[in-house]
Symmetry: C2
Subunit: 232 residues, 2 copies
């Protein structure tokens, strides 16, 4: 598996990425390390040595910066969020990092709290739950516990409902999301079959990249169509 895992010097990395990112410099890569976004090995002499993983990571960072204008802090928190999948298993006691932007931050809410935090009525929440848009953890006594991901979902759902859509319309979106997940699942099940941490990490990376790309793809298709709708 590790055969031929060549490590590249910083200059080689620049040369490699130069095509996609013409103004990437050595000093910028060093700067990224200083900010804690990457952590290349070091040769005995102290030279930075980059493995394929590191290079993929750099590419990801630069794309987020270029295409989504994200500040490095935010990119960092996204990065560590996807990594936490592993660490959650090994250190279930450690609290969430201070700036976790994604990743389960451990928030949990009941219906009332979710209602207040999202602006949805309890009735609307019920409907979203029955449509599968929200999926709280349900206890035997019917108490429902919502997590931070549900809050994000609830907030955006609120925006759509405010524009006149109905919960059943949101169901359409949810089903599309499910199909998307199925697609990605096929992609990584081989990797997850054997419980190998290296494979798990690779799977996480693939999923992160795919889900983002898919979301962008859909958004651009929709936007193109809507533009035509407005102009035509």
């Amino acid at each position: 598996m590790n055969v031929g895992e060549r490590e590249q010097s910083i200059g080689e990395v620049i040369a490699l990425l130069q095509d996609e990112f013409p103004d990437l410099t050595i000093s910028k890569v060093r700067f990224l390390e200083g900010q804690g976004l990457i952590e290349p090995r070091r040769s005995p002499a102290g030279y930075r040595m980059f493995r394929d993983d590191d290079i993929r990571r750099i590419r990801y960072i630069l794309r987020e910066q270029r295409d989504h204008f994200l500040p490095l802090k935010v990119i960092k928190s996204k990065l560590t969020a996807w990594e936490r999948g592993e660490e959650v298993k090994t250190r279930p006691d450690s609290g969430p990092p201070p700036e976790s932007y994604f990743g389960a931050s451990g928030v949990s809410l009941n219906v009332d709290e979710l209602s207040r935090a999202s602006g949805l009525s309890r009735r609307q929440i019920e409907e979203l739950v029955s449509n599968g848009v929200l999926e709280p953890i349900e206890f035997p006594d019917r108490t429902k516990v919502f997590r931070d991901e549900d809050l994000t979902i609830a907030r955006t759902a609120m925006r759509l409902l405010a524009q006149g859509l109905e919960p059943r319309h949101l169901r359409t979106l949810k089903i599309a999301a499910d199909r998307e997940v199925d697609l990605f699942q096929q992609l990584v099940t081989p990797l997850l079959r054997h419980r190998n941490p290296d494979n798990r990490r690779k799977a996480a990376e693939i999923l992160a990249d795919c889900s983002q790309a898919a979301s962008e793809l859909q958004e651009s298709i929709v936007r193109a169509r809507l533009r035509r709708l407005l102009e035509g």
Copy 2:
């Protein structure tokens, strides 16, 4: 229609938005005007007077900043892009503004150029076209012309194909996008029925907000699911 369209002073606007944006200040609103993001009327004495549209616009700007970390320049170009729908009709000769990030920038590519710019092979492009993911303008002699939106689509499609998905998988995503568009279309067809520029603008705003919210909703649903997949 314009009855009761009360204009608010800058202080009233702050008070109104204070709930959602606690650290909004008068000076910031003035700053936004200085940057060309908003353009409130002026009272005879020179006081800024904000109409509902202006306030919605401010809210949009602040959300983009807070939730997506977008620089003001980019927000501005998004804003003007959605508005151009109108102006395109009235001034078809005017070139695109220098920094248009969305809106058709007038780029057009043939198959080879798209291939070079996106990294897709011509064969892949063909497949994406036949799956409806890419929709070039097709001339009688079978020449195809791609526009800037196709370039965006092609680039993200490239990322997905690189991860091992097939063009037919992308078709699934495209169909979901179509359904989404149908949903939104229902929402605005009443507004677009009569060719009224005010309604058109309102429709553009609704579409912009909905498409963004929907995209976010799907993304968070997918992410929540994928996280469970990785952890479970």
